[in-house]
Amino acid sequence: MRIRIRHEITQRFEPGSRNMAVTVRLTPRSHEGQFILRWALDLNSDCRLAAQEDAFGNLCHTFSVDGPTDHLSVVAEGEVETQDTTGIMHGTVERFPPSLFLRQTDLTEATPAVVAFAESVKLTEDDPLGQLHALMVALHDKVEEQDGPALGGPLTANAALQAGKACSGGIAHLFTAAARHLGLPARHISGYLAPDAPEDGENAGVGTARHWAEAYAPKFGWISFDAGRNLCGTEHYVRLAVALDAMGVAPLRSTGLEVEEAVSALDSRAPQKVAQAQSQVQS
């Protein structure tokens, strides 16, 4: 599948701000399931972009906005060719052994409730892959996915579990928190989900930014799990960044006021019209 992506982020600053340092994590890498055909970043400000790879192997750019200004706008745009690998990840950039991904963070904290949930889906036989699937199914039953932005909340593993409904980021946190508790390495993925273009050319809705999880099963390697949709990754997914939690994959980090995001991810066969994009505001 060929997917066209546009991801725009607007960071607001106090009026008259100067020398604002910014890091963006907005450039996907190719792996066996996805090939980056073209990709470009565009800024509304004259900056010198310095490319860096972060500790997890994600491509980052750092720069400084001289100002004075009250906002920065970054647009990442490109096209990606994807293939269905039934969720099994090959050819990804790996900078850590799987055991690092047993590390919990503030967002994936294994509270007593999370531990109880994880234990409730524990299998008796030693079958990591079966365990991960059981976890996905149980989580899907327990926590309903909420419409809205990928990080619209509840965001922590515990809050997602308690609320019984959560954004895709919160569901990914709960999945990773529970898997790690069970001794299965799991990590947080940010990316995009594009719907199929319908045969009749009608707009099938726009794709969105989305977060999901990957977990490690010996013999298979890393496998993607989207518990919100109760499935392993398909050709509709484009993987952007990997880390321990949503903080680690943040597409933009700076100091300032609120951030707005607008994302579209479309089947390239869909009509070329600017779709109503998903948008989210963080403070």
């Binding site: 020398n19 890091t23 860096q52 400084s64 690092l100």
Partner: protein, 471 residues
């Protein structure tokens, strides 16, 4: 509890040679002269403002750390052994940290268990694969040493993050020189005042680029930090700028200081700020104390942070127990300074032993410091031990245990004259790109309460001047 080794008086009542002159002097000076000098010392400390705050104390007032006027004496030979061992230890610490963040050979070889590194809160995944200038991580180490007999110095703790206390070492000497000049004329004491020059030379040697005179700054969390006095003291001694996060900014991966003459590039930052607060773009996003973009400048190799980010992975008390193996692994040498035998409660057979012997042991939290959250078995009653047992059983991996060591004692001024009190020693080891520098001596901490083994200043410990004899 075994009888403690006293550094002045042998068991048979004779005075050990290094202390002979001091002992004669102590015996000859009238008590009222000593009392007068003690008041004078306190007055000087108050006037120069060398105080500290104890976190979590209600209406916590700035306190003076009790200063004890009787110096502690270490012979030249003892120091030679110690300093060699310290240099070895710090070399291994640096190699270990570098390895953990790059090739991970120590983990692949099974010398240190993976989970002790990857599950360690002080491990910084963000540092993975990052080269730091000159491949050095721990530039300023404070290694706590305890002594149990004439020949045995144990390493009790490696402080590889931001060890403090060096200002006391320097101030104590200055005050002693002022109060007791006659004592210095009777002894040949190695000077400590070159620590400032040594530290500056070390920091400059660590600059990422040659070519221009490196600009060094000390980054402090600000006046509310308990060690603020030391930060300003050191900036003054070194003649470098003391800055807070808001005084710095990053442009195109280069760090600048705001000055009245415009931005000035900074090459080396001696930061007295914890990792978590350094850069809101990488660590805690609510940090107002750090510098946005600092970590990307660091990653780009344009600035040196001392100590490096993530050094805490080498100094918690669980990793400590592996240090002898770590030294053997990297240096192929036997450790010159032994470790205190340590039971790791994360291991079931160790835990079993510890639970059976709680009244004899000292149990500490793996990430604890300042003498908080520990159990000193022999000094605790049944209820305290049982309470601690519950904590230990609930989270064994959070604790280690050690035998209760009979820390050496030194003569100390108390209410009724001079009496032995337990001491430890924190020497400061500076690792530059050119060489390792250690000022002879360090900070001696003394437990002022009779029989107490807890020397931490937050628990009422005091300090002493530490003399390394030059001849």
């Amino acid at each position: 509890m075994p009888h403690a080794f006293d550094e002045m008086s042998s068991a048979d009542g004779s005075v050990r040679p290094a202390y002979e002159t001091l002992q004669r002097w102590l015996a000859s000076v009238p008590q009222d002269v000593l009392d007068h000098r003690r008041k004078e010392a306190e007055f000087i400390f108050r006037r120069i403002g060398i105080t500290f705050a104890v976190y979590g104390e209600q209406n916590s007032q700035e306190r003076l750390i009790p200063f004890d006027m009787v110096p502690r004496i270490i012979t030249k030979d003892e120091w030679a052994t110690l300093s060699k061992g310290l240099e070895q230890r710090v070399k291994a610490l640096n190699m270990y940290i570098r390895d953990v963040y790059t090739k991970r050979e120590v983990l692949k070889a099974g010398v240190v268990p993976e989970n002790l590194v990857y599950q360690n809160p002080a491990f910084r995944p963000e540092m993975n694969g990052q080269r730091v200038p000159h491949d050095l991580y721990v530039h300023i180490a404070g290694i706590d040493i305890v002594r149990t007999d004439p020949d045995t110095f144990y390493v009790l703790e490696d402080n590889a993050r931001t060890p403090s206390g060096v200002s006391y070492m320097l101030e104590n000497r200055e005050i002693m020189l002022r109060l007791f000049p006659e004592l210095f004329s009777m002894h040949k004491v190695a000077p400590v005042d070159k620590y400032g020059d040594d530290l500056l030379a070390t920091l400059r040697s660590l600059a990422p680029h040659g070519g221009h005179e490196p600009n060094v700054a000390i980054l402090t969390p600000g006046i509310y930090n308990s060690a603020y006095y030391e930060h300003s003291f050191l900036a003054d001694k070194l003649g470098v700028d003391l800055v807070e996060g808001r005084d710095l900014f990053v442009k195109d991966d280069v760090v600048y200081m705001r000055t009245t003459e415009g931005p000035k590039r900074v090459d080396v930052i001696y930061r007295r700020l914890d990792d978590d607060f350094l850069d809101p773009l990488m660590f805690r996003r609510d940090s107002q104390l750090g510098v946005p973009g600092l970590m990307s400048a660091y990653r780009a190799g344009n600035v040196t942070l001392t100590n490096a980010v993530g050094t805490g992975v080498a100094d918690d008390k669980a990793v400590y127990s592996y240090m002898p193996d770590i030294i053997r692994f990297y240096l192929g040498e036997e450790p010159l300074l032994p470790n205190v035998p340590t039971w790791r409660c994360r291991e079931p057979d160790h835990l079993k032993y510890v639970l059976e012997h709680l009244p004899e042991l000292v149990v500490k939290e793996v990430h604890g410091s300042g003498g908080y959250g520990m159990l000193v078995g022999p000094a605790s009653d049944k209820a305290q031990i049982e309470k601690f047992r519950a904590k230990l059983v609930a989270d064994p991996a959070n604790f280690i245990a050690q035998p209760t060591l009979a820390l050496s004692t030194c003569p100390t001024m108390v209410e009724k004259g001079v009496a032995p009190r337990h001491v430890d020693l924190r020497p400061f080891i500076l690792s530059g790109s050119d060489k390792v520098r250690i000022v002879p001596g360090g900070l001696t901490r003394v437990a002022m309460k009779e029989g107490s083994l807890v020397v931490n200043s937050s628990q009422g410990g005091g300090t002493k001047d530490t003399w390394v004899l030059d001849a």
